[in-house]
Structure formats: structure tokens, C-alpha cells
């Protein structure tokens, strides 16, 4: 039975005493009391000798948009990957929608989704075929109507029967976003959602994410290098540097603390170690 349980659950033992015993689509107990959508405590990830993530803790409220900022190698992608359960932490804990990750990730995977530049949709398949497959994996009801609706929302209708490999970068990003929204997730994890997009398309994607958050009370965690994007979208910003949390507050308060007018200036201050007098008080 133990071996069978491991086969069914990705090699992780399901913790019967500590987690939700109900079906995956029902909210776990800890999920119903209004607790955080994401709860990260003392998370550490060490690759050989590199501490990619170094003892970080944060809680993300439901229905919020949080930006994870930081330069290359700051630990943003590793943090998101640990939240998704694709990378195992060296120590510390992650809970998503009340479920422990990675032990109970299959209880909540149907309520999450993600988009990342590190993954692609199969190129030879058409947009409709790709969305059909992911819709089936997420057990989406009335899938054909859902795909048509997403295609209309994301301006993909005319590309639905075109193979993914024949789309432009902007169109591919919209398809990836359609895949990320196919199951109307309660939690959306986005890694550089507007990278490689022209300003018009990027703005359009941001607007769509804002609308989605408002209409679905969804929680969004996004890692980005685009400071304007973070300023516009996020209620809260977590700035990471060398695996640690350098600052964590609303964009307005962070800018005020650093005595800067834009997050980009704050980012440069942090990245170059020019922390202003009065910051972190």
C-alpha cells in the first residue's frame, strides 16, 4: 500500500493525519478560514555550494497580486518552483491554499496554474489542440465553450487552428496565458509574464490579469524584471537579492522608504547596494 501511495503521489507519501482528506476540488480545512493563499516559512534551497534561496518567509493574502522582484540569480524562479512543488526545498516549508507542498500538492494543483518562459506549449499542435489537452488534464467542464471564451478574451480566435510553432512571440504568450487560465485558477504563478512582448501587447496582458484578479478574486504571484508592470499591478512587492528578502511592502511605501519616484530606481539601489539613508527603518 505504501508503494502504491508513492506511485500515485509523485513519490511523496500523502500525510493522512495532517492534511485535507477530502477530494482535490474541495477546499482543504486550512483553506476555508481565510488563511493565506501562500505561506512560506524559513525556506532554503541549496544547490551544491550555492544558497539559491536563503531562509525566506512570507505570507500572501488571497485575492492579492504580489510581485517578486530581483536581478538575475536573486532566487525568484527557484522560489516559485518550490511553491509549485517542482523543486524540493533543502529546508523550510511551503503551504499553498492550505495544502502542504510537496506532500499534498495534488490536492490543490487543479486550483493553480502557471506560466513561465522556461516552458513551452507543444509547437506542432494547434492552439485549440493544446488548450483541449490542458483543459482535459484540468477536467474543465464544457471545454469547447471555455476555449472559445478564452480565445475571444485573449484575441486568439483567428489563431485557434494554427500550430503553436507558427505564432509570433506575443501570440504564443497569449496562448500560454490562455493555458494558465483554462481552469480559472484560484492561484496564478507567473514568471516574467510579459517578457519579449511589445509594449502594446504587454499592456494588454496586464489589463487582462488585473481584470481576472478582480472578477475571480484570484491570487497572483508574479516574478518580473519590469518595474512599471510591478508598480501598476501589484499590491505588494517582495524584493529579493542573493536568495534573501531585501524588502517587502507596498510599492508606494517601498518607494517612499528609499526616497525614490519609481520602483526601477529602488531596484537599482538594491541591486547596486546603494541603500539610502532611512531605508529599512
Amino acid at each position: 500500500m505504501r508503494l502504491l501511495s508513492q506511485w500515485l503521489n509523485d513519490g511523496h507519501m500523502q500525510q493522512s493525519g495532517t492534511g485535507p482528506a477530502q477530494a482535490p476540488n474541495r477546499a482543504p480545512a486550512a483553506d476555508q478560514d481565510g488563511s493565506a493563499a501562500i505561506d512560506v516559512a524559513h525556506l532554503v534551497k541549496v544547490y551544491k555550494t550555492t544558497r539559491a534561496v536563503d531562509d525566506i518567509s512570507f505570507r500572501i493574502a488571497r485575492g492579492s497580486i504580489t510581485g517578486l522582484l530581483g536581478g538575475n540569480g536573486a532566487g525568484k524562479t527557484t522560489t516559485i518552483a518550490m511553491i509549485m512543488g517542482l523543486v524540493l526545498p533543502t529546508s523550510g516549508s511551503v503551504a499553498v491554499l492550505g495544502a502542504k507542498i510537496p506532500e499534498q500538492r495534488y490536492d490543490v494543483l487543479g486550483r493553480m496554474n502557471f506560466e513561465s518562459p522556461y516552458v513551452d506549449m507543444p509547437m506542432r499542435l494547434t492552439v485549440r489542440q493544446n488548450l483541449t489537452i490542458f483543459g482535459r488534464l484540468y477536467a474543465v467542464k464544457h471545454l469547447r465553450e471555455r476555449i472559445d471564451q478564452l480565445a475571444a478574451d485573449l484575441d486568439l480566435t483567428e489563431f485557434l487552428d494554427r500550430s503553436n510553432g507558427k505564432l509570433s512571440a506575443g501570440q504564443k504568450t497569449r496562448v500560454a496565458l490562455a493555458k494558465a487560465l483554462i481552469n480559472e485558477p484560484d492561484l496564478l504563478l507567473l514568471d516574467e509574464p510579459t517578457a519579449s512582448l511589445d509594449p502594446d501587447t504587454a499592456d494588454w496582458v496586464r489589463e487582462h490579469l488585473e481584470t481576472y484578479r478582480k472578477t475571480h478574486n484570484a491570487t497572483i504571484l508574479l516574478a518580473s524584471h519590469n518595474m512599471l508592470e510591478v508598480e501598476r499591478l501589484c499590491d505588494r512587492v517582495i524584493i529579493m537579492k542573493r536568495g534573501k528578502i531585501e524588502d517587502d511592502d507596498s510599492p508606494e511605501r517601498i518607494m517612499a522608504r528609499y526616497n525614490r519616484d519609481t520602483l526601477e530606481e529602488v531596484f537599482l539601489d538594491v541591486a547596486r547596494g546603494r541603500v539610502r539613508e532611512g531605508a529599512h527603518e
Binding site: L3, N9, E184
Partner: protein
């Protein structure tokens, strides 16, 4: 929870397996070179070896008596080899497409993923091997299906071995990235000399025979020769093969899960490159 998502069972979901089979079916149907490749090599194999069998049966009394052993061995070897390739290539398609992260983040469970790869291995095998058997009948008068019920035992044992090797090779690629891709193409050839496809086990040195008998295909090819030459079906050989296959199958799954965990520890699931 969103209203648009149906209740999903806690255990294995046939819907998700079906979705993955559909994904590979779409891929196969979108690419004629992929389809052609499935038929091309098996067809060449059977024609080449079939003519060789014709030639040596004219010059050798043994082969004249043991009609079809060479062609039968070629077809059974192809079931073993193509079965594994059918499994592993579908897995590699996910690596090539950089789609593994999407799948691992979806509710698809590893066991469902592996089951869908097994179903695809059967579909790909059917596309490649059925034309091969028809060519054997048409050109060389060898009716593979005349083997009858023993064929089911041969097939099941070979396909189980091919899946075990496929699961193991896929785990290695999952852990080590596409740099380990060549293992997928070559691993089965390590079995080839010891499985005694074209010659009896007694040909091997005594100590190597012990090694050969640890491999389920050895029992199948011995069983095939016994059937075609002596007209005796050796059920004992098939039972042994099945027992060893059960151990190999369970071991390959355990190794795959261990390699998946290792990939998660090393952060290689999102990279998947070299």
C-alpha cells in the same frame, strides 16, 4: 473552487490518461515523417532478414527445417525494441517541446503519465509491426499470426520488458536532461547479445548463460525456437519470464520515482536541457 472544473478522482484518472494519449495522437497525425519513420525501419528489417533467411535455408538443412525462426526472431525483436522506443520517444517529445514543466504542474500524476506512454507505445508498435508482419507473409510466406495463442505470451512478456527499459531510460533523461538522450536509443541494444535473439542460449559461455537467464526476452526467444523448431510450447519459460518481468517492472517504477525526486532536488525539471 472554480465551478468550471469537474470533480477529479483521488486515484488514477482515465480522463487525464486519455488527454495525454490524445496529445501524442495529435502529434503523430500532424507529422507524416513521424508516421513514416514508424513503418520504414521495421519494413526494411523484415525484407533484409527475410531474404537472408530464404538464402540460408536453401544452403543449410537446419534452416530449411527451422523455417521462419530468423523472421520470427526479427519480428519479436522489433516488438521488444520498438515497444521501448514507442514509450521513450513519446517521453522525449515532452523534453524536446519543453512541455514537461506544464505537465508536472498540472494534476497529471506520474503513474498516469507513464500509463499514457505505455498506451502510446502499443499504438506506435501496431503502426510499425502490423505492416511488417504483412510483408513477412507476402514476401516470405511466414504467417506470424499462425503462432497462435503462444504469440500472446511472447508479446506480453516482450512488451513488459520494453516498458521496464523505457521507464528506466525515461527516468535517466528526466534526471539528467537531454544530454542523456542517447541512452534511450542504445539501452536496449545492451540486452541484444544476451537475450539470444538469433541463437540458442547454449552458444554463450556457461557463466554468461546465468546472466542471460536473468533477462525475460531470453525465455521468449528460447520459447519461440522451441515452438518453431520442435513444435512445443514451453509454458514454463513464459511463466519464468513473467515473474522476472514483474520484478523488473516494479523496480523500474521505483527507480523512475527516485530519479523524479532527484530531479526535483536538483532543480532540473524546469531546465531539461543538456
Amino acid at each position: 473552487m472554480s465551478e468550471i472544473v469537474s470533480h477529479q478522482p483521488r486515484g488514477i484518472s482515465l480522463h487525464r490518461i486519455n488527454a495525454m494519449v490524445l496529445r501524442y495522437w495529435y502529434l503523430l497525425m500532424s507529422s507524416w515523417p513521424r508516421l513514416l519513420e514508424l513503418i520504414y525501419w521495421p519494413a526494411l528489417q523484415i525484407i533484409t532478414w527475410g531474404f537472408l533467411q530464404n538464402y540460408i535455408s536453401q544452403t543449410s538443412g537446419f534452416f530449411a527445417k527451422a523455417g521462419g525462426t530468423l523472421i520470427g526472431a526479427v519480428i519479436l525483436w522489433d516488438i521488444l525494441f520498438r515497444g521501448q522506443l514507442g514509450f521513450s520517444i513519446s517521453f522525449l517529445e515532452e523534453m524536446w517541446a519543453r512541455n514537461l514543466g506544464n505537465l508536472m504542474m498540472s494534476p497529471l500524476k506520474p503513474i498516469e503519465f507513464l500509463l499514457s506512454l505505455m498506451i502510446m507505445s502499443l499504438i506506435r508498435l501496431a503502426i510499425g509491426v502490423i505492416p511488417m508482419t504483412l510483408l513477412a507473409l507476402f514476401f516470405f510466406g511466414f504467417n506470424f499470426y499462425a503462432i497462435g495463442l503462444p504469440l500472446i505470451a511472447f508479446f506480453c512478456n516482450l512488451i513488459f520488458t520494453s516498458w521496464s527499459v523505457g521507464v528506466f531510460a525515461s527516468g535517466l533523461v528526466l534526471r539528467n536532461g537531454l544530454g542523456a538522450e542517447s541512452i534511450v536509443w542504445t539501452l536496449m541494444f545492451a540486452v541484444m547479445p544476451l537475450a539470444c535473439i538469433y541463437y540458442p542460449v547454449e552458444v554463450l559461455p556457461d557463466w554468461l548463460q546465468y546472466v542471460a537467464w536473468t533477462l525475460p526476452p531470453t525465455y521468449v526467444f528460447e520459447g519461440m525456437r522451441s515452438l518453431l523448431i520442435d513444435h512445443v510450447f514451453r509454458a514454463d519459460l513464459m511463466a519464468w519470464a513473467l515473474a522476472i518481468n514483474a520484478i523488473l517492472f516494479a523496480a523500474s517504477f521505483a527507480v523512475f520515482l527516485a530519479l523524479l525526486q532527484s530531479a526535483k532536488r536538483h532543480g532540473s525539471l524546469l531546465s531539461g536541457g543538456e
